[in-house]
């Protein structure tokens, strides 16, 4: 009998695991269980669907034919329980799936604000494709009813909140953005970086309400009609976009008795505490060898990398996941931004109750690190040093230094020879970084 592999979750971690297993085990039975009815799609791409840059069908990167060729069986159901002793997964439709190796790749889910009215129709998150269809549907319906009702209020921080703001703006929706304090994403971005982004958001037409919080959501007939803020303001709207953070979906693992902290605890082979059960993606809590800390990454490339390691090890391999310096690239207020390594400001982010999508806990740091800022409006570059090592960088605008800086941070290169240049940024700094990173690469090779 061929080996049976079951994968719960069809995001990037589940998908990369499935394709890795198939490349190693041509005859194996591979079953992917997903609570979503759609085939594999790009979750980060939802922002571009919302902003009308691509049609929905473009999000599906794998055709039905490819799935058939790969011999992947897809089941649309909720996995409700796993029994590690019996090597069995129970589904919501009553089915039982026996496995030889199981991958949990259940991802994370957006948190809703704890205010009255949070269950009204029109309160939306940007978690998945059905959510995005729902946002577009609410916007369409509201537009039919009149312009005032078509307004939206967005709360939260990080990349997702701005994706919702920018998406709604591009759909012609009057958009209000509430921030609890005076800055955006304050645990990761400096005040200067936040100011630049908020300035651009205003220029794009966003109505930003600083030091303002969601107090309640009003509705009529089950639908959102307005938001009341902590300052007593009432903003008529039909959409409330929420991006206050996500939580890893660890319920299945916890109920099955697996070791769970904030995420499912795994070793560097993505093995959980139960035999033949693996975890990857947002839910996998793995130790960063750089810091010794177990952190969660809600990042697409991490999900793919951990999925590949899990897939290989499920099918008899012996791969070790080497956690890289957390890295992400996004567009915020139409400005490209790269965030690498430890860049945290040491402050808390009042707008988030948990890590957001596209963020890594590894960015945050409480260490007193030395930050250097290079400004050339509308661009900002910041690099963070610990002694003679670069440990993090934020590039807002010009991206030419992204790769050399990533190289130097990733390889923990001794930057002694250019340290003084980095501490006094001027026109020659960029050249020094680029040349030095190039030389280091040659030396390392």
């Amino acid at each position: 009998m061929p080996p049976r592999f079951v994968i719960v979750g069809h995001g990037p971690a589940g998908r990369s695991a499935a394709e890795t297993i198939r490349s190693r085990e041509p005859g194996a039975a591979i079953t992917i269980v997903s609570a979503e009815p759609d085939p594999f799609y790009s979750r980060p791409g939802l922002a571009y669907l919302l902003a009308n840059e691509i049609p929905e069908k473009q999000l599906f990167s794998r055709s039905e034919d490819q799935d058939r060729t790969l011999g992947l069986e897809r089941i649309h159901a909720q996995a409700v329980a796993i029994e590690p002793e019996a090597h069995l997964v129970r589904l919501s439709d009553g089915r039982e799936l026996p496995y030889d190796a199981l991958l949990l790749a259940t991802g994370s889910k957006a948190i809703l604000p704890d205010v009255p009215g949070n269950d009204l129709d029109g309160v939306v998150t940007l978690d998945n494709l059905p959510d995005t269809r729902h946002i577009l549907d609410v916007v369409r319906r509201a537009r039919r009813r009149g312009s005032q009702a078509g307004a939206a209020v967005v709360v939260g921080g990080g990349i997702t909140a701005l994706e919702v703001v920018e998406g709604l703006l591009s759909r012609g929706v009057t958009t209000h953005y509430l921030l609890r304090h005076a800055h955006f994403w304050s645990n990761v971005l400096s005040e200067q970086e936040s100011d630049l982004i908020l300035h651009r958001l205003r220029e794009m037409g966003t109505q930003i309400h600083l030091e303002s919080d969601l107090a309640r959501i009003d509705g009529r007939g089950g639908r959102v009609t307005a938001v009341e803020t902590s300052g007593g303001e009432t903003i008529p709207c039909s959409v409330v976009g929420v991006a206050i953070g996500v939580r890893p979906q660890v319920g299945l693992a916890r109920d099955a008795g697996l070791r769970v902290e904030r995420g499912v605890v795994v070793d560097d082979g993505m093995r959980t505490s139960a035999p033949d059960v693996f975890a990857a993606g947002d839910i996998a809590q793995v130790v960063d060898p750089r810091t010794g800390q177990a952190t969660l990454d809600i990042l697409w490339p991490t999900a793919i990398a951990t999925g590949r390691v899990a897939g290989a090890n499920m099918s008899g391999g012996d791969l070790h996941y080497a956690k890289a310096a957390p890295f992400n690239f996004a567009r915020l207020a139409e400005l490209p931004i790269t965030i690498i390594g430890q860049v945290g400001t040491g402050r808390a982010d009042a707008d988030m109750v948990a890590a957001g999508r596209g963020a890594s806990e590894g960015w945050e740091t409480n260490e007193p690190l030395r930050s250097v800022v290079s400004t050339e409006p509308p661009e900002l570059q910041r690099w963070v040093l610990r002694g003679n090592r670069l440990v993090g960088a934020v590039l807002l605008g010009d991206q030419r230094l992204a790769e050399p800086l990533r190289d130097l941070i990733e390889h923990q290169t001794d930057i002694g020879p250019i340290r003084e240049t980095l501490l006094a940024p001027d026109a020659t700094t960029a050249e020094a970084i680029t040349v030095f990173a190039g030389l280091s690469r040659v030396t390392a090779a």
Binding site: S42, G45, I54, S61, F329, R331, P336
Partner: protein, 88 residues
């Protein structure tokens, strides 16, 4: 060098560089949104190359740069080939 010869020489070099150039992805940046494939005038499914981390080797690629410019994550770049002959 006379102006006409200089012009043809430069154009020949450019063509050679293009002929040997390729669109190359940085797979860590790619989130498989498909904007590259959607905007490719030659209908190449660029994102499949990006998923595999391979250069776009499809013969229909004319290096127009549309996918490079449209990618919202800075995944793609044109890696120009080194011209074998600098001038004719």
């Amino acid at each position: 060098m006379r102006p006409l010869k200089r012009l043809t020489s430069r154009e020949a070099s450019r063509r050679q560089a293009l002929a040997e150039g390729q669109v190359v992805p940085d797979p860590v940046r790619c989130i498989q949104c498909g904007i590259c494939s959607y905007n490719c005038p030659a209908d190449i499914d660029v994102r499949q190359f990006a998923w595999r981390g391979e250069p776009v080797t499809d013969h229909r690629c004319i290096l127009c740069g549309e996918c490079v410019a449209r990618c919202p994550r800075g995944t793609l770049r044109i890696q120009a080939g080194v011209p074998v002959r600098a001038a004719l």
